[in-house]
């Protein structure tokens, strides 16, 4: 079974973000990077599927600058077999441009399953996987939280408003992974050492034309401090009034 996983290099979220000088990007000084969490679960899903159907091959693909090699190596150290870096000077803010580049790479790969994370935690578009599916004409199941693949078809669970949807789909297909499908493994040192010797190809990304560009970024307003409106039952009328008139949640 040939499996591909598309991963993205994203900033670690625990820092305080600042807006860059151009007003339309994040200031990159002091940022630390890691594999997008959803993509880590996608890698884990690919590895588990591969382990069950061995022998097979898991290819990890990322689009980005040379720095993204670090994230590909991490996936390799978890157990993926080979990596491909689609080199771009910078990531376009348009998911479609990215999807076109990925689709061009994936098109003739002969993959049975292509995994994506449901979304990237920085751009938060939840679009790339589905767009690649459209471009390649493959069935797409997004936000999968339970998955079984056997005998040329797959069964997936995905959370929908107020319930669970169960879907069946034929292979090849695209699956985007939601939280809860699994927990990613910590790369073993053996894996880290082995990853140094695994193949990592690099070629220019065939980016599509970006139809969307980021104009401006703004930080959310500082959160106001909490307010104590009173104590006990006597506080209820005032609280209700505020919830209606100020917070407008009632």
């Amino acid at each position: 079974m040939k499996i591909a996983v598309c991963i993205k290099r994203v900033p670690v979220m625990e820092v305080k973000f600042a807006i860059g000088k151009d007003g339309a990007s994040v200031d990159e000084t002091g940022l630390k990077y890691d594999v997008n969490d959803f993509d880590l679960w996608a890698v884990e899903a690919a590895l588990q599927l591969n382990e069950k159907n061995a022998p097979g091959e898991v290819t990890v693909i990322s689009l980005g600058t040379d720095a993204a090699q670090e994230q590909i190596r991490k996936a390799l150290s978890m157990g993926a077999d080979k990596g491909v870096l689609l080199k771009a000077d910078r990531l376009p803010g348009d998911a479609f441009a990215v999807a076109e580049a990925l689709a061009a790479e994936l098109k003739d790969g002969g993959y049975d399953v292509i995994f994506f994370g449901k979304k990237s935690i920085d751009a938060d578009n939840s679009a790339t996987g589905a767009m690649v599916g459209e471009l390649l004409g493959l069935p797409v199941v997004t936000g999968v939280s339970k998955l079984e693949i056997a005998g040329g078809k797959g069964t997936a669970h995905r959370a929908v408003e107020g319930g669970i949807e169960v879907l069946e789909f034929p292979l090849p297909a695209i699956v985007t992974v939601d939280e809860g499908l699994n927990k990613e493994r910590l790369p073993s040192l053996k894996g880290i050492m082995a990853a140094k010797k695994k193949p990592l190809e690099s070629r220019p990304a065939q980016l599509g034309t970006a139809g969307v560009t980021v104009q401006k970024m703004e930080l959310p307003p500082e959160r106001a401090a909490g307010r104590i409106v009173g104590e006990g039952a006597a506080a209820v009328p005032e609280l209700v009034r505020l919830l209606q008139s100020e917070a407008k949640v009632l």
Binding site: E14, D34, S188
Partner: protein, 703 residues
């Protein structure tokens, strides 16, 4: 030569050959299976250890009852063995006696010493048999007890001593004027009483029987040793000599690990061949006395971990596997612990033996993760076995080779990797505590050309934990009040990797530690002060393995020094009488031998403090339960360690509990809450800060 001489010579040679065979067998197992390790550096300290721990029995005597009895037997044997040599020569060469070349008074002294020490041993051994059969101390009942074997050995020793005395008595009957007669107080005394009852001829016969019994028993005893836990008789002294010598300061440094080696295929240990020969020698040296397990906080509170079982299992596994590895067949095999517990580790076929391994088949991961790395087991072991070293190596294998660890550790590992702290806090928040306190960062100091004398390493707890941040501020206030020229790293500080290392993740540890060393070197740091014993130990004792060399001082020692120099302006008000109890932190005490500075600081800062000690204290102190990465793991089995410890501290009736570690702070505070008590838990620096003179500059008043 008489027939008797020839028979004895043959027996003696056979016994010696059999002993030599077993000795080389055990030596081959150890060296051919175990990995090489250099253990001959620092000969002066090794010799000192041998003399104090080995010959002076200092660690054995930590348990006064068993210790005195053991020391009596040990010292007795040292003396009596001189006589055994005489006996053996006599066996081959009739009538041989030291008397033939020793001056009479010296020989008399020798003969007397033989009798007296024989009686001493006899008395001690009788007590030990009584202890095993009647008193039954708890630690000898634990997970593995070769009770019968122990009593058999003790009985044999008793037999040796009895026959020694009988031989002397009988000789005194039929040969009252022999040169040995001088010193034979006991023999002569008994002979006087018995001479009417036993004729010289019968005495001759009894003497011969007794002599042969003695000689054969000695040879039998020695040859039984390699097949029993009493092998320790032969290997304890070498084991003490070869033990970890780095001494206070670096005694608890984890074994260095070379991650640069591209050819390495195994990291840590999953079986005996991944351990060093010294770990295997530890197995031979273990006599299963159970002191380690009796001191283990995990074991005390009902967890599965038993340090004794770890060591004994390592030996059992070696005994099972080594014959196959070195090509011996049909070895005598002692029943294993696991067998005793009903599981199958004995194994019938060679294939099954080879399929087994130390990890999983003998030692489970639950046991390994229960360890708090408090080092009490290592401290207690009378023959300097390093149980923790084996645990650490097995943990390394679990994490580095198999990615097997408690689920709760994943976020801690991930946070250390991503945020440079085991908690998911923003690195930007690292210096929030310092706002408005006018404390420079190294970067700021360097910018204006200053080179601060001292780096205050705050640590992750001190930077992010709300309770610990109060310690940080208190200590900073003390430093400022004393006019110390110091700086912090601020956002450039990261975790030094200690938790990762203790949890087996050496790769993550080295990444973090190398980064920290780079930062420290960039600011030309020479002296580091910190209030976290884990940071203190790691930076001071383990960073040198990676090329980071700094003088690292724990804040208790540093404050004590400042107080001694009269640099801390303390309130002159004597205050009310306060009873305090100090809880020793493992990484400060057992790891680094800092016991007095915290106590001295308390006494000096609080002139009217009444310092009381809990039941377990100083080198016998009980861990708070957070060490060895336990801080990040749930404690679901048995009683909570911190509750057990808090109970001991509260039992002293102290008004306040003093700690010198942010981890202990958390655990003791939780413990106090769990007990529904109101007793405050204070860090040493908080006690001192609360006593700072009120007239001190306004800048210090902020909290």
């Amino acid at each position: 030569m008489t027939t008797g001489n020839v028979v004895f010579l043959v027996i003696l040679l056979l016994a010696a050959a059999f002993l030599a065979y077993n000795a080389q067998r055990l030596y081959r197992y150890m060296t051919m299976v175990g990995k090489p390790e250099h253990r001959l550096d620092d000969p002066a300290r090794r010799l000192w250890n041998l003399l104090t721990i080995g010959f002076a029995q200092t660690k054995i005597l930590r348990d006064p009852t068993a210790g005195t009895s053991h020391a009596a037997v040990f010292w007795g044997f040292l003396v009596v063995t001189i006589g055994t040599v005489e006996v053996f020569v006599q066996g081959v060469w009739d009538g041989f006696s030291y008397a033939s070349f020793l001056p009479a008074p010296l020989y008399a002294l020798y003969a007397l010493s033989q009798e007296l020490f024989a009686l001493l041993i006899l008395a001690a051994v009788s007590f030990l048999i009584y202890r095993r059969l009647v008193l039954k101390p708890k630690r000898l009942q634990g997970d593995v007890v070769h009770g019968t074997e122990a009593v058999m050995i003790l009985a044999t020793i008793a037999l040796l001593m009895v026959t020694l005395v009988i031989t002397g008595t009988m000789e005194a009957i039929y040969e009252p004027d022999a040169p040995s007669g001088y010193g034979r107080l006991v023999g002569h005394g008994l002979a006087l009483g018995l001479s009417g009852v036993i004729s010289p001829e019968s005495a001759h016969t009894v003497r011969d029987v007794s002599w042969w019994t003695h000689a054969i028993a000695v040879l039998g005893f020695i040859n039984f040793l390699p097949y029993s836990k009493h092998l320790h008789v032969l290997v304890s002294l070498p084991n003490v000599f070869l033990s970890n010598t780095s001494g206070p300061g670096t005694i608890g440094a984890m074994r260095p690990m070379n991650l640069e080696d591209e050819t390495a295929e195994q990291f840590g240990a999953s079986d005996v061949e991944h351990l060093s020969w010294k770990n295997l020698l530890d197995g031979y040296a273990c006599t299963e006395c159970g002191r380690c397990t009796a001191a283990c906080p995990a074991n005390i509170t009902g967890k599965v971990l038993s340090p004794r079982k770890i060591v004994v299992n390592t030996r059992q596994r070696l005994m099972e596997k080594a014959p196959l590895v070195v090509g011996d067949v049909g070895e005598f095999r002692r029943p294993t612990l696991v067998e005793q517990e009903g599981a199958d580790a004995g194994t019938q076929t060679a294939t099954a033996v080879l399929e087994n391994r130390l990890l999983d088949n003998y030692i489970t991961e639950e046991e390994l993760w229960a360890c708090t790395s408090c080092r009490a087991c290592v401290q207690e072991c009378p023959v300097s076995i390093d149980q923790l070293d084996i645990i650490n190596e097995l943990r390394r294998n679990l994490v580095l080779m198999e990615s097997r660890f408690p689920e709760e550790l994943q976020p801690a590992f991930q946070s250390m990797e991503r945020n440079g702290s085991p908690w998911a806090f923003s690195p930007a928040a690292r210096e929030e505590w310092a706002q408005g306190l006018d404390i420079p960062t190294m970067a700021e100091a360097f910018e204006r050309g200053a080179r601060p004398d001292l780096l205050f390493w705050v640590g992750c707890m001190g930077s992010f934990d709300d309770r610990a941040k109060k310690i940080t501020v208190a200590f900073a206030r003390v430093l400022k009040a004393a006019g110390v020229d110091f700086a912090i790293l601020g956002q450039e500080e990261t975790c030094n990797g200690d938790p990762a290392r203790r949890m087996g993740n050496e790769y993550l540890y080295q990444t973090l530690a190398k980064g920290a060393i780079e930062t420290l070197d960039r600011y030309e740091v020479k002296t580091v002060v910190t209030f976290c014993p884990h940071c203190f130990h790691q930076i001071g004792n383990e960073f040198p393995q990676l090329g980071g060399n700094y003088e690292v001082i724990h804040h208790t020692t540093y404050i004590e020094r400042l107080l001694q120099e009269g640099r801390v302006p303390l309130d002159t008000d004597e205050g009310k009488q306060l009873t305090m109890v100090y809880h020793d932190s493992c990484y400060l005490g057992r790891y680094n031998d800092v016991y007095d500075a915290p106590r001295a600081t308390l006494k000096r800062a609080l002139p009217v403090v009444n310092l009381v000690e809990p039941k377990r204290t100083k080198s016998r102190g009980l861990c708070c339960g957070a060490g060895g990465g336990r801080m990040w793991m749930e404690e679901t089995e048995g009683k909570r360690i911190n509750v057990e410890r808090t109970e001991e501290l509260l039992a002293t009736g102290a008004d306040a509990i003093a700690v010198a570690c942010p981890f202990c702070m958390t655990m003791m505070t939780d413990g106090v809450t769990a007990k529904g008590s109101e007793v405050p838990v204070l860090d040493i620096s908080e006690v001192v800060a609360s006593r700072l003179a009120t007239g001190a500059p306004a800048a210090l008043a902020g909290d």
